[in-house]
């Protein structure tokens, strides 16, 4: 049996770990709150832009744009959103596993795809496996602004415009609730299923100067806004996942402390009993 001192040491260190996980849980809870608000603030913009894009795409039969038309796929882009830090349960690993399997089953050589990563964990994962990471961004704040990812979003859309990739998928954790996050795969480019998404707007618009030029401006912005929306969603999921992970760590620490305290008391009692027996034995020997 471990000595009293050993057990006491383990109890103290478990208590300290618990303090940390508990603090991280509370920090994540408040960050989750803010992330949810950010995601909510983005809703009016995304709804509006979707409405306008859908109404142009539906209304005008003659409007066409490279982003609206599927072309032969020679190279696929995968945009993967992970976090910069770990300790968030299965948050990163589930999204990475999904992308990895997808790439393994769809592509035979590294020529056929390229990766764009947001977040350090994703970048390191693919670099380590010698997979082509075309662009990456790390160190995005917990409350991201649109300007934080504007560059990488527009560069990604540019890859498609320059025909360096022929389709673009995005992978991220969709925030369902504080305890559930779902790995989501979404096709961003080409925007072929526009007509299904979004409600049709009632009014038909006058276009100034014309539909094509508006699509020219609007579609890249729309694609960028989709990426930003996914990032906000992923941030909320990250904090939720971390909160849940830290909560179960705190609970586990509680269990462990309970068990250790029990064995500490047992050991203490055994030691006392032993001492008494020794004293009694010693006294009996003197008589």
């Amino acid at each position: 049996m471990a000595s009293l001192r050993d057990i006491k040491g383990r109890i103290t260190s478990t208590k300290k770990t618990k303090q940390i996980t508990k603090a991280m849980q509370m920090v994540s809870a408040s960050k989750l709150n803010r992330a949810e608000q950010n995601a909510k603030k983005f809703v009016p913009y995304s709804e509006k832009i979707q409405e306008v894009v859908a109404s142009i795409a539906q209304g005008g039969g003659d409007a066409s744009h490279p982003m609206l038309e599927a072309r032969d796929v020679k190279k696929t882009g995968y945009l993967v959103i992970t976090s910069d830090r770990g300790l968030a349960g299965a948050f990163n690993s589930s999204v990475l596993r999904k992308v990895y399997q997808q790439i393994r089953s769809n592509h035979t050589s590294a020529e056929e795809y390229t990766l764009i990563t947001i977040g350090r964990i994703g970048r390191d994962f693919f670099r380590k496996r010698n997979m082509p990471v075309d662009m990456d961004i790390t160190g995005i704040s917990d409350q991201p602004d649109f300007s934080d990812i504007k560059d990488i979003a527009s560069d990604t859309v540019q890859l498609y415009t320059d025909e360096r990739i022929d389709q673009l998928y995005i992978y991220y954790n969709h925030y369902v609730s504080a305890i559930t996050q779902e790995v989501t795969e979404k096709k961003i480019l080409p925007l072929t299923d526009l007509n299904k998404e979004g409600k049709a707007s009632q009014s038909s618009y006058e276009y100034e100067p014309n539909q094509e030029e508006i699509l020219e401006v609007l579609l890249p912005q729309y694609a960028e806004s989709l990426i930003y929306g996914a990032l906000l969603d992923s941030k909320a999921s990250e904090h939720a996942a971390r909160m849940t992970a830290m909560k179960s760590a705190t609970d586990n620490a509680d269990d462990l402390i309970g068990d250790l305290t029990l064995s500490y008391n047992r050991a203490r009692q055994a030691a006392i009993t032993q001492e008494i027996t020794e004293i009694v034995g010693g006294a009996a020997a003197l008589e």
Partner: protein
């Protein structure tokens, strides 16, 4: 006098929502003035100031990467960034202007001219909107 509801929306949240009598802005095809009862219209905006006129007051907003959606009684401006004069970070805008100017003057081959030019436009736009307010 009849009014228009103007709302300015960015990915970071709504910037403004209020009733005004007239909206004037600079679209890619030229200056546009919008009064209540305008036919529905969509137009992309340049990096510029949007001027809003209401009862004896007026507002300016610096927009970039935006477009305008007009309904008879409502104008929505969707922009990647939109700032009222009071929200503009003037030091940042000045620094951005200097940086962009330096880049354009250096004329090195490895810089993205288009990007530097856009940055300069955005910075100048912010400075103009800010200073007109004095």
């Amino acid at each position: 006098m009849s009014t228009l509801t103007v709302s300015v929306v960015t990915p970071d949240g709504p910037v403004l929502e209020d009733a005004f009598e007239m909206v004037s802005c600079k679209a890619e095809s030229g200056e546009l003035g919008i009064l209540p009862g305008h036919i529905p219209m969509v137009a992309p905006l340049t990096i510029s100031a949007v001027r809003l006129k209401g009862e004896g007051r007026s507002d300016r907003i610096a927009v970039s990467g935006g477009f305008l959606e007009v309904r008879p009684d409502k104008v929505t401006i969707l922009a990647q960034s939109a700032e009222k004069p009071a929200d503009i970070d003037i030091d940042r805008a000045r620094m951005a202007k200097e940086r962009a100017e330096r880049r354009l003057q250096d004329k090195q081959a490895d810089i993205d001219f288009q990007r530097a030019e856009m940055a300069l436009k955005r910075a100048l736009n912010r400075l103009n909107v800010y200073e007109n307010n004095f």
